[in-house]
Amino acid sequence: MAALLRVEGVSKSFRGLLALNDVSFDVVERGIAALIGPNGAGKTTLFNVIAGVFQPDNGAVHLGGAEITGRRPDEICHAGIGRTFQIVKPFAQMTVLENVTVAALHGAGTVASARAAARGFLEMLELDTKTAQHAANLTLPDRKRLEVARALATGPRLLLLDEVMAGLRPSETDRMVATLRGLRDETGLTILLIEHVMRAVMALSEHITVLHHGEKISEGPPERIVRDPAVLECYLGDQDR
């Protein structure tokens, strides 16, 4: 299958500290892929490079065959990448519905149609009873759901999810997993997720890339990754996460 996202030899350093070292991997169209690794491995940095927040020092990022390296975050959103933030960034003084409406506006002709579309995404993420609440008053799991609803409302081809399961109860994690898989099956969305909740990673992903100290140390299907000695070594003492 064709790669929707292609990351090629991406390196990024901050003040001499190498955060990403020559990282390459593909995410196939309609696939669900995971990016895992211990804390500080460079996962979020890589997301920020893909989403245009950081310029890579070397390497390139392609979406659907077109190079998107070095473009602004809003341009990359328009190109078809929706993202969530690990440290959630709700529009605190706006209501839940308004939060998602902002995201839906770029694909919508009018505010009214954007609001209607936003309601659909809120229903999908089980936030439809909280539409009139201010985002500042949401619990952390609800804020995580709001992040996902907003990212989805931009109408992405590729969804980047940064630890959206963190803080969810196991039953909630399972529901989120079902929602995401349903989305992929129904709409042909491609998903790349950073996740520490292995329950979700194993249930969802078809392909896993492992980062450690900014380098790719392994990649492959989940059943092979969990037996890879290199992966086990970097996770030693950290396996229960």
Partner: protein, 348 residues
Amino acid sequence: MNSLARFFRPLSPAGLWLGAAFLAVLLLLPLWAGSYVMTVATTVFYLALIGQSWNLMLGFAGLLSIGHALFVGIGAYTAAYLFAAVGLPPVVGVLPAIALAVLMGVLIGYLGFRFAIGGGYFALLTIAFAEFVRIVIDHVSWLGATEGFFLKVSSADRHGIDLVNLRGAPEMYYYLIMALALGALVLCRFLLRSRLGYYWQAIRDDAEAAEALGVNVLRYKMYAVIFSSGMAGVAGVFYAFYQNSLFPEIVFNIERSIEATLGSIVGGVGTLFGPIFGTFILTPLGEIVTEAIDLLKHWGVIDPQIKLDGLKLLIWSFIVVLIVLFKPKGLWPWVCSRLRLTRPEAEG
């Protein structure tokens, strides 16, 4: 639902009645008010218009300006100069006045946003430009320099209604600035419910998240500055033809810029009616303080020799401190919920 009904939908029945009563009193004010009350009421609406413009930048888009007198002043000088030099009536002159005020806003905005000068530093940039323009005009002889720029007024101009040349009775100025201030309120409400308003609030709450959701942050910040400086420019045109004299020391004084912020802070930054509400509290209060001091001097309670010019500002500052401490969201949201002026599901 027709658009008029939708416009008033956020108001509860109590809010509608109180709003109607408020409007009726203001419309009928010239019937019984003397010239002093008329002057104060005109000033209230003038400051409310500037407050509305300032609130659009900070309250909606999160951009703090402490140089709003700049946009007002540029509007004032442009329309006044074009009227005096080439006889361009202000009804047309308002267009180049808006254009120049907006141009200045775009220049400041571009420098600020392009080079990512955020928060307090952006505010400093607005102050710097206001001071810079004041000093320039201080030295431009064809704008009257420090001596001031004057528009000719004859006693015949003090009667009737000439909206083309902005000449007429005090009532005309009152109704005009009232229409402009209420028009700005309607415009702001329209903008807030549009794509622009959604994007502005998103940028205000979290610019990085807004950008990730496809919002061109620089462009939409610029739109906020454009609408805000344009509105302030209109206020400046009114000022020029109401006062008929422009002094750089007065027009561009930082006190004017601070004055522009106070009504909104007291009323509620980010609310639609807050700037008007706050101005309606502060300006009459300032007048009452001034009057009370004069009266006390007259009665000999205070030594008439003592100068108390700063007292009004001192009292205003004290009120602002109290508001920031106890009602940081401003008085209007509090009054709204206390008197149930808005429907629970709608925001002020």
